[in-house]
């Protein structure tokens, strides 16, 4: 027992490798992948070779069960290209449901199917698990093929919905196209399984998607800041580099700080969840998700602004990050579901470091 936020050595190494893959392979392929609506083969291979998908998966489902490493890795990949991650990083967001699904045999089967890559899990957040039957909509299902199964995280439980016969329709996203670009309209929610859960466990199923999307937002935001820094060190305006002007430099400092704040919160939440502290981790993941939303929006706005008009045109990736962040913040119930989950707990929220 200790309080120590330093990453374990092997996780720090993983971050270095994932960052390298992001820089060397994903970043250069990102623009093409957006046009092609899919990652190129080298991008998919670079991602797969690091073998990070199993990090999300509980041990009893055959996974490596290391949420901190999973969050670190997905952020690192996202600095290269976020567009294809929703498709590639399976089960990713769905892993929350896998952690708490009472039927462990089903959890294992779902996880194995996802890890095989032949199928995937889409994740939806809805209010009440009984509402599954009323139908719902899952945006950005990656890949055109309809998923094997959808997992659904409600405030009071989880459900698994049969993917067979679901209608896929084109989505109108402005970003994340490399994950496919279709939406699934679930009309009558044919639930294979429906499990009520206590509030803490139900929150875990909702918290993991927030960790995932929050980490992607941090990666996208960091990419935008890094690019703006490189540009702003060279480009001269009013006789100085853009970032030699103090107001710009300070904006970069603040954007960096808020990304760091979100990142620190997400990793700590992952640490709590990994240690089985459902209430602590679910609460903090939801707070950190809101922080990541704000940080990602700010950083990607800065990423355009520091380039001026050049940031607004397709010659530079700044516009892509701006678009991506504004789609990512809407994922998994966006702010609304998070605010609801937090307000429900605000009077007796956990505070693990206060003792």
């Amino acid at each position: 027992m200790a309080i120590d936020t330093n990453l374990a050595e092997e996780v720090a190494e993983l971050e270095v490798h994932a960052r390298a893959a992001a820089r060397d392979v994903l970043a250069s392929g990102a623009e093409g992948a957006e046009r092609a609506h899919a990652w190129s083969e080298p991008m998919a291979r670079a991602f797969a070779e690091l073998g990070t998908r199993g990090l999300w998966v509980p041990a009893d489902c055959g996974g490596d069960d290391d949420l901190v490493a999973a969050v670190v890795a997905v952020e690192a990949f996202a600095t290269g290209d976020a567009g294809g991650l929703l498709g590639a990083d399976r089960p990713g967001p769905a892993a929350g449901v896998l952690r708490v699904l009472p039927d462990r045999g089903r959890a294992r089967a779902l996880a194995e199917a996802a890890l095989d890559g032949g199928t995937m899990l889409a994740t939806a957040l809805i209010d009440a698990v009984d509402d599954v039957a009323a139908g719902f909509r899952v945006p950005w299902a990656p890949g055109v093929e309809v998923p094997h199964a959808l997992v659904v995280a409600a405030t009071d439980g989880v459900a698994v919905v049969d993917g067979g016969g679901l209608a896929a329709e084109p989505a109108s996203a402005s970003a994340l196209w490399a994950s496919g670009g279709v939406a699934l309209q679930v009309v009558d929610g044919d639930a294979i399984a429906r499990h009520p859960l206590d509030a803490d466990d139900a929150l875990v199923a909702r918290a993991v998607p927030r960790l995932w999307a929050g980490a992607v937002l941090c990666g996208v935001g960091q990419a935008a800041v890094d690019y703006a820094v490189a540009y702003g060190r060279e480009r001269i305006v009013f006789g100085l580099p853009v970032l030699g002007h103090q107001a710009n430099a300070f904006d970069v400092a603040w954007a960096t700080a808020t990304l760091e704040a979100a990142r620190t919160g997400l990793r700590a939440a992952a640490c709590h969840l990994a240690a089985g502290r459902a209430a602590d981790g679910g609460w903090l993941a939801t707070l950190a998700w809101l922080e990541a939303r704000d940080a990602g929006l700010r950083a990607t706005d800065l990423g355009v602004q520091m380039l001026g008009g050049h940031g607004y045109i397709h010659d530079h990736p700044a516009q892509r990050w701006y678009r991506e962040a504004r789609m990512l913040v809407l994922l998994f119930g966006g702010a609304d579901a998070a605010l609801d989950d937090l307000a429900d707990r605000a009077l007796d929220a956990p505070d693990p470091l206060v003792a």
Binding site: S172, Q305, G308, I313, R323
Partner: protein, 406 residues
Amino acid sequence: MELELDRSTREAIETIRGLGREHLRPLGMEADRLERPIPPDHEFFQMLVRAGYMERGPRSLDAAGGLDDAAAGDGRRTGRAVRNVLVSEEGAYWDRGALVTLPGPGLGGPPVASMGTPEQKARFLGMFATRERPLWAAFAMTEPGAGSDVARIQTRAREDGDEWVLTGQKMFSSNSARAAWVVVWATVDPDAGRNGHRAFVVERGTPGFEVLRVEHKMGVRAYETASFALDDCRVPAANLLGGEAYYAGRANRGFGGAMATFNATRPVVAVHAVGIARAAHDHARDFVRDEVPSHAARRRRRALERLADIRRGIEIGRLLCVHAAALVDAGTPNGREAATAKMYAPPIARRAIETAADILGEVGVLRDRYLEKLVRDVKMLDIGEGTQQVQRRIVARHVIGSDIVR
């Protein structure tokens, strides 16, 4: 102080509203989807010109200041600058990209109106008093190496007998590839900084004027944003804006003319952001009214509070733009107020639209391209016509002093 719409302003707003509903929005959506500007030979433009739109409305001859000064505000009716702000907001509400394609002198108009000799006004603005064919004009300051720092432009102007020879490159110039003429800012001496600035009217077809490319923008795609080269481009001495006399007086006259132009156009560009935000608001309001079920009381209430928050940015932002324009109508200097409006409205509008997206959520936003298009469109307004940073610098120099703020 008076805040009641007079009939003629109301009619002007309603006119652009009809146009917007029927044409600007569908054309803007189409251009966004096709990722290319509305072509200049589009039937829409012919229709507009026949109906007299090139004389009135946003970006028209009238908006540029017209050929006379009769329409300035006199305290009893709404002044031209204020009316143009309100009409421009309405245009941007329907589609800011399509609005900017409206034929007329556009941003080229104000410098000619404020700096031009009577002959130049008659020649370059007068041509828009036609119902024959669509015409555009353009304004070109930004260069590959000089954005916010306009004093740093490198395009050279060299006098050669009765002509000026222009050499350089301009970019991010709206409508310049289709323009009948472009106001080009150049320098007679790059080492002289702003002192060397001169403005020229470069007419379409002048040898040496070559469009390089039309930019692939993230948003506001309905209008063309182009780069062009000036390669020993010869313009007659008569095209030096204001004539030699204009620059012979005090220092920085050319640069000052550009700045004065910005003071006139910034409230209009700023209010475009307000218009876009209002479009997002109305979209979100309809969503709340029609699609957030009343049994979802908490979400509905939160959405209502968010709608109010969006409206706050819209209404206060609009008032700042109106006020900056009201000073123009009153003949009062408005440098600080114009920069304030342009500083305030775009980022507030962007956040308002992001809030609208939160109201709709992923399902609502993804159903059509509309709101996500507005998110992309609005960002342009914090960059074009002087970035956020440029506006802050201007305001800071006014408030703190230009001796302290460099």
